[in-house]
Amino acid sequence: MNKQFNINELQLKYLELETLLDITNELSSFEHVSVLLQEILIKSCAVLNASSGMILMQDSNSDLFQIEAEFNIDVDALKGVIFNKKRGFFNEVNQHRKAIHLQIETDPFLSKTKCTYGLIAPLLDKKDLVGVIVLFDKESRLGISAFEESDTNMLSAIATQAGVAYNNIKLIENIKEAKTFNDNVMQSIVTGVFTTNLMGEINHVNRAAASIINLDREEVIGNHYEYVFESNEIINELISKCETALATISESQIQIDCNGKTTSVNISVSPLLNDQNEPIGSVVAMEDLSNLDKLKSTFKKYVSKQIVDQLLENDDMLNLGGQEQEATILFSDIRGFTSMSETMPPNEVVETLNEYFNLMIEIIFKYNGTLDKIIGDALMVIYGAPNSTDKDTENAVLTAIEMQEKLIEFNQQRIIHSKLPITIGIGINRGRVISGNIGSRQQMNFTVIGDSVNLASRLCSAAKADEIIVSDTVWKHVKTNKLFKGRKLNPIKVKGKAKPIEIREILYQRPSFNYEVAYGMIESFLINNLPKEYTYHSIHHIRDVVEQSERIAKKEKINKEDIADLKLAAWLHDVGYIWEPARHEARGAEYATVVLNAMDFPAQKINRITGMIMATKIPQSPKNLLEQIICDADLDYLGREDYKANSTLLLEELRLKKEISELEWLKIQDQFLTKHVYFTKTSNSTRNTQKAKVLANIKTQLKK
């Protein structure tokens, strides 16, 4: 054999060192334990000329070891073998803490491998034995032999490196597992959580947080919180405060803008600390209250805020049962509603009741009443149950007065819209009642029952339209308050009571006619009902007449009260167009009479209003200065710069009825303007010059 081809010791040592270096370099690149172990085993076998080998690792839940890597070995021969940490070669290698030779033939388990020589090294996690690497039968050209002492050192070195690498991978796996666990928990909780780093950049957002702030996680991650919450100064302030104070900052029930959607949240910001207790960012937790708000708002349609809050705070209130206590009960009932509803289509009946109930229930809740039930068109309201205050009875009377007052305004609207007014009678009593949740577990109602409740109902029945009747008990509770005025009525006999009941009528002041409210109502009625095809007789013309009436009246030194009437007439002067354009002045005057009467407008002044409306009929026929003013205001545009625009609208409207040529229209205008005269000094002095120009222009066009 040529000597140059001999593999010398130096080359073998070089290979051993390279292998060890490879193992050291490569160990950190493995992500999975199984791949790492297989690589270590192959390299160990190769470098130590072992014919085969295996790596056994301890089961995480027991002292038993399992084969995790094998090379060139008959694994089937080892099937069923139990490798126990406390027995045999494990015990031995655990004591020596380094590679040792194995007597295979005497080992009851390894002898099954049919190998002869063995070398085993421990894989340690700090001091604990977590695995072993076993190599079998060192090869040579002469056959197999026992491993040498140098092999023992080499395998010990490899095992030490492998142990470090194994522990690193396990650590990474544990961190990943913890992170996955953490992520799963964070993603599954309903509280919105996001974290920021020291730079203020958001580095974690859970699903709930993304949903609450109505943004995709990708839109949030990596962005500074001030950018993400630029429209929510309060969130930025809370995070900023937390960063400065290094303390938890909380805020309850704040409204935040979530990408265009407003949401109510509880928010808490805490500093995020590392294991050295140094700040590394902030963690923000948000509790979405929108569902609770929705629940509350739905609930509050049925019971007062007081009851909702108490129910949410006190589960016991949901138990069936009752208690005897003092309470005030109010009943109200619409007078003659049944006969009134017979003349109305069903949808109008429902619409009317809904409008009426909305208005009344708002007042009931304003005075902390609990709407017990709606019975047809009647309402039953409780004050002082479940919790009573000194003001319960006063609140009941205040509710009744405001209900009657608001109903007057409500009726004015209805009258203006040519609908029948609604009137109610109210009865109030105070006395001992049984209060509590009455019903079944599936459906229960908080209510009050007893004689006192029945009497309140009887008082309501006794009350005439617009009346508030209270029992003597109620009057005794409220009479010291000078707000209330009571008129003693004759005692009444009620069913179930032997003695007549002392009663009083609570007096309230019917509000005087309010011009501004009336103007607003009429304007709204006109906007909704004037025929849209009428381009000239539109809300714009009516507003113009109102404005010009006031302007001329002020110039003519008319007093404020008369100006108010003048404006009222101006608002109403073309209302008849809604029903009868041809005789709109007469129709408007009829409407004004009905509406103003119903709105408690002084009867003696109604003729004055209708007179002004009628005076605007062409040819105009004013009989007094106010009528002259409204007539001039109605045709004010004849002497204004915007004549052309108005006349075009008028022509368009007239053409709805018949075809009018341009020439015909010029002739009509010529004739009308030639005949027209303003009545007031103001209009004559301010509008005649322009009117003359308009007329001259028309005449010029006619000559052409």
């Binding site: 593999i7 080359q11 490879d22 192959i42 390299k43 040579s140």
Partner: protein
């Protein structure tokens, strides 16, 4: 054919041996048996496809060296292709590449040997 020798074929008077598994004493012996047999038939060019041999030990390498020595006596050559990096590195360290050639592919090996 042993389990280690996956296949043998001849191309352009070159004997191509495909191996599978650990190139140790046993694997080396399997290669040498074929090589010596073919040499007795007058063949003196050998290529070993080591695509499926990912592990080699020094005994395996020493057997390859023995084959090289025998081939030198008949003016023969041996080469290898499809080597795993670790096998390639071992061949380098053990000095094998000084007396035989490592190719990347079979085409390159057949034309370059």
């Amino acid at each position: 054919m042993s389990g280690f020798i996956k296949s043998t074929k001849e191309e352009n008077q070159i004997v191509i041996i495909e191996t599978d598994g650990y190139l140790n004493n046993e694997g080396g012996e399997a290669i040498s048996t074929i090589c010596y047999e073919k040499m007795s038939e007058g063949k003196n060019k050998f290529l070993i496809n080591m695509a499926s041999t990912k592990v080699v030990n020094s005994i395996g390498v020493s057997i390859l060296i023995e084959i090289i020595e025998k081939l030198q006596e008949v003016d023969g050559k041996i080469g290898y292709y499809n080597l795993a990096p670790i096998v390639s590195k071992t061949f380098n360290i053990m000095g094998l590449t000084k007396y035989s050639t490592v190719f990347a592919t079979e085409e390159e090996a057949v034309s370059g040997l």
